[in-house]
């Protein structure tokens, strides 16, 4: 059965989305992305080095015809900066998609959700397809949806922490109420974390550090591919209810 993720008419072949930071080099980035099977890669927007023009370009390794390039506003701590980076990203890229981050605090990297809400509303009105990185807060997820977010991206745990989904109950409440796709962004540490997110019914998972920081990033990328797929299949298959006591699975009839 077809199980394609479609957001605002854009078809996504993969429910695993990949961040491109922290790899050793562009070649390793490209190999990891390939092993993950992802067709969405998120990238940051930064100044071109005008004095050393020999440096390689990420897009030479990740063909925008093959992958959906999802620019982010990583590093933005104010609404104004997030808007500025978003508008530049749209001009540098080929789509209206933006992974919107308005960071509230350097230590936790938790989002400044008040700024995030304002920026989401402004960018949605400008025609952006906005993917806001938010807290695992069901009310804020709803608010973001109301002002035009194309999907919501609640964190599982702080960025780069690898703590997994610290509040799966909140994610469930977000999923219950959301009319837009829910994509867990941040916190995944290993394959089972990604599976848990997908088993809850999340539409996709975005992973960077858990892959790039693994001892063998290429192998972890492959593990994540299977983890996301397994979680999605299990969600669609419908799990059995949890019970305290045993239920025999072999027939009692015919016993000696």
């Amino acid at each position: 059965m077809e199980d394609t993720l479609i957001i605002r008419g854009i078809e996504f072949r993969s429910r695993l989305w990949i961040g491109t930071g922290k790899y050793r080099d562009f070649e390793e980035t490209a190999r990891a992305v390939q092993a993950s099977g992802a067709d969405v890669v998120t990238v940051a927007v930064r100044r071109v080095n005008i004095t050393d023009r020999k440096s390689e370009n990420l897009l030479d390794f990740l063909d925008p015809k093959k992958y959906k390039i999802l620019p982010n506003t990583a590093g933005c701590y104010t609404v104004e900066d997030a808007l500025r980076y978003s508008r530049l990203a749209r001009e540098a890229g080929v789509s209206d998609m933006i992974k919107l981050e308005v960071i509230g605090d350097e230590k936790t990297l938790f989002p400044d959700t008040i700024g995030l809400l304002r920026a989401t509303e402004i960018l949605a009105k400008e025609g952006f397809v906005v993917f806001p990185y938010t807290n695992d807060d069901p009310i804020m997820a709803k608010r973001l949806e109301d002002v035009g977010a194309a999907a919501v991206m609640p964190l599982g745990a702080p960025i780069g922490s690898g703590l997994g989904l610290r509040n799966p109950y909140n994610i469930r409440i977000i999923l219950e109420a959301a009319k837009v796709p829910v994509i867990v962004d941040a916190g995944v540490g290993t394959a089972s974390d990604a599976t848990i997110a997908m088993e809850l019914g999340c539409d996709a998972v975005l992973i960077n550090t858990a892959i790039a920081g693994a001892k063998d990033p290429i192998a972890m990328a492959e593990a994540m591919k299977h983890a996301v797929r397994a979680g999605r299949l299990a969600y669609r298959a419908g799990r059995i209810p949890k019970k305290l006591y045993a239920t025999a699975s072999s027939p009692l009839e015919g016993m000696l």
Partner: protein, 78 residues
Amino acid sequence: MRLTVNGKAYCTEKGTVKELLGEMDIVPERVAVEVNLKVIKRAEYAGHRLQEGDTIEVVYFVGGGQEELWKIHSSLGE
């Protein structure tokens, strides 16, 4: 003409955004350009005249998934 390009003083005889990118050996399709905080559309590079003292930012996509690596010091305007 004296400009500020990506935070650094830059002297040029070039008159337009397109010519400036050419002088810096930058492929226009891979970047975005901002002049005095206003994003310039790619189609306007050839027509946009530069003025003495203009502040220009030329950006592109780099590896980065989430905020962690990219602290404020690498942001625009610093």
